[in-house]
Subunit: 261 residues, 3 copies
């Protein structure tokens, strides 16, 4: 069984290692996979996007242990969710919601059953004392319903909205990756409905049409393409679009129809 | 069997990967867990604290492979230590000592037996040629006494001292974590003995009393609490205490009794 | 079976986690080892050096999944190579070549067989859709010849040249590691042939003779030694040679014979 971890803990402290120790103490044959631990501290939205982009490539049965938890120690709930054969464990603050809502049918429970947590639960590190044990027990095959009562309305994260007509789509940058690629919330199917050749406007630049891959473009020139997750992306071949264009998450992006005249 | 790694090697070079390769060459079914590799170069004290904070969450039998080794290639000894069912492998420079001394009874041996090292031992990378093989052999179940002669007096690291009376405790910051939390060497039981309401003084700020969790405090205001390892910690909710207060490791922290008047 | 990963993807995005998910979907019992993901973006040469320095410490049968791929989505080939019982998977741009050429006899195939890739192949993330599946299938034991037609002339990377006489060797810095050590392309056997005591010149400093380990030198003083990979290395004990000397990759280094007069 895979337990995949996603946190904002970074890797310079022992926090992630200790969560893994707790999981392995309960399920010695778990295979641990790091999605990332470099989500900016307390950035729920960034964590939710990474999880939603990643989960589908894991085999069914994978347990996702997600701890981005600005409300640690407060009364916010701790939850586990099953959806499409996957399990998601984390705080009930929306960080899981983009992923499990995407799968389709889901059921959620609150993590209240004490015997599936560590005996004492730190008010500042529920990742170790509550979430990691729950992930370990799920990896061992414990049924979701054993952990606590159903949660009918877990916290849902609102995605930044897009508006789309045949004339114009407006959206925004939702992720900037390591290469400086600007990933937007505009999907391929939105663009397919544009009536004419699309012109992409982002910050200081207007890009004519989409390319299919970086290699179709000149180095150092911004281009637009559908990225590996199915979203419109602005990139600079062998360069850094975020730096070149001075754009970051939240920057507005629009696609307009240019008629052949 | 878990082999848990803690080094100052960083992750941009192949050094950690190569140590794992050596362990897996000897013990193919070892489960490898990274505690961290981002200890500041040659910072024994930081490494010793991370190990001491982490080891107890791992299951018995875990082998800790710890390489923070400013004396690599010198005559400093290489050792393996058994304590409470755990195994610790590393240079005899004190980096292991906070952890194994904490467990209680321990026995140590020097790593001199050539057949448990690689055939040639680099003077600059004993992690690969001496420590990783020893960890691999321990993970395979080799008895500690096979590695070399007992070491009666391994190097012990002195913890920065605290002084504690019913009126005042003085200590210092021993770790700053990724979130900027300032972890001190003042333990909860010291504070429990304070005669009155504790006032915590650290750098420019005086904090009245302890909270039980970040959520009990206002954002952007420093607070004091007992952290997840049982030590007094100064934090800023959803912020960075180290930056806000301009404090780093070694900064003095005191707790004074304030009588209700 | 070990699958060892080497990329320039960094660890802040989900890209590496997703490649691992794909490998584990095909080969659930693979043991995943990260060599590094912090190769500078698109730096083929740096990736090739890390792979060449690391591969030999892994047990036979290891599959190396290497994705540093400035030509992703273009017509550059995707290849798999078998050499000395190891398997190498990656783009045909030279990044694998220093390693497999070093092993001795090798055979290479092009990755064209669709059933060993994901059903749709992103033009921007072949690591996920083409290379990771190939690594997963190789880890499962699929024969190399099943993946596609032989490649007689894969792209080879030229190593920066050294010139060596009994009087003088010239080379350059090929890697700077986390500690600031400057690793050159000058091998021990070159230096052994120098007729006299070697003087090493790098940037602003001239170093008399080699030491065998850092511990033989004074702190803060540059020294020269044969590093753990068998190459001449310039280091500052408990310091950072790259910063102290202001040198980086490509900096010329020479070794001259000094006669005893």
């Amino acid at each position: 069984v895979i337990v995949a971890l996603l946190t904002d803990f970074g890797t310079r402290d022992h926090y992630v290692g200790v969560m893994k120790a707790v999981v392995l103490s309960l399920c010695a044959n778990a295979t641990l996979v790091d999605i990332t631990h470099d989500i900016p501290p307390q950035d729920l939205t960034a964590g939710a996007f990474e999880l939603a982009a990643a989960y589908r490539y894991f085999p069914a049965g994978t347990v996702f242990l997600v701890v981005i938890d600005p409300g640690v120690g407060s009364t916010r709930r701790a939850i586990a969710v099953e959806a499409g054969g996957y399990f998601f464990v984390g705080p009930d603050n929306g960080v899981l919601s983009l992923a499990f809502r995407d799968v389709g049918a889901w059921r959620a429970v609150e993590l209240t059953e004490q015997r599936f947590a560590r005996p004492t639960i730190s008010n500042t590190f529920e990742g170790r004392d509550r979430f990691a044990p729950a992930a370990g027990w799920l990896a061992r095959g414990m049924d979701l319903s054993a952990f606590g009562a159903p949660v009918a309305h877990p916290q849902m994260l609102d995605l930044p909205a897009t508006t789309a007509t045949a004339e114009k789509i407006t959206g925004e940058v939702i992720r900037v990756d390591r290469f400086g690629n600007l990933i937007t919330n505009i999907r391929q199917e939105h663009i397919d409905r544009i009536d004419g050749r699309p012109e992409i406007v982002a910050g200081p630049c207007a890009i004519e049409g989409l390319v299919t891959t970086y290699a179709d473009t000149q180095a150092a020139t911004p281009c637009a393409l559908i990225g590996s997750s199915g979203y419109l992306e602005i990139a600079v071949r062998n360069g850094n679009a975020a730096e070149t264009l001075g754009l970051s998450r939240g920057a507005p992006v629009s696609v307009q129809a240019r008629r052949k005249s």
